[in-house]
Amino acid sequence: METTETLETSERMKFICDVERCIECNACVTACKNEHEVPWGINRRRVITMNDGQPGEKSVSVACMHCSDAPCMAVCPVNCFFKTENGVVLHDKDICIGCGYCSYACPFGAPQFPGSAGKGPGESATDFFVARGKMDKCTFCAGGPGDAENTSEEEFEKYGRNRLAEGKLPLCAEMCSTKSLLAGDGNVISGILEERVKNRGYGDHKWGWDMAYGRPENAGADK
């Protein structure tokens, strides 16, 4: 366990999703599933669209947000969660009992339960109230506990690839075609977003639906 003092003085890895840019292409979801070979029916990342189909709809890509004060860590009865030195919330699947408390506690719906679900007659792989396997969630492409050399097959099967140990960022963000999803040190990516917002301004009239389909001053130009 890291002390608060350590976390304050080191990097904190974070995701930011710029909703003005997300086009709901689901490339982040696909990239994540492919990179980590996530089981059928389990998504570590999802794209949520608000006001779907209406002008001005907004999409946001959501996974584990690696909370600074993570509720999953607070409720876990077997203390299988830990936070790395740079603020990535990970868990040890050898300890997890699949109780699902973290799933109820998480405000983002990040914890997923693959494994035995879906194997019984009439069960779906996404059924919540059937026998659950070990919890699975976004690892910020940091693997699990141990294996900084990123060579263990066992580690890969449990947690997926450890890209951070290779000096790479989570693939969902690196794959994002509109660079809506940013990943990295919180200070660095908030700086990127700040520079972006300063350049483009903020709001629908600067970016998004109106820009793509006609702002008031261009109204009628494409008719």
């Binding site: 203390n79 299988c80 830990f82 900084a148 951070l164 000096g167 040190d185 520079e195």
Partner: protein, 71 residues
Amino acid sequence: MRAALTLWLLACILTGCGEYKQSVAYQDGTYQGKTDQRHWDNVRFQHDKATWASAINARAQRQNEYRRTGD
């Protein structure tokens, strides 16, 4: 009779002062799993956090198209 009633009333009012905090004080659990290796604990980064951090931050800047294109 009146004194008894007053005392009873005072006792009822004073019970409000005996209120205690009912929210549970959460205590941090202790991680029970296996020890984590840090991301820079490998040959690639020579166990040097600064090298790893600069590599990651340089990579993060590649998400900034204003710097990539020089606009």
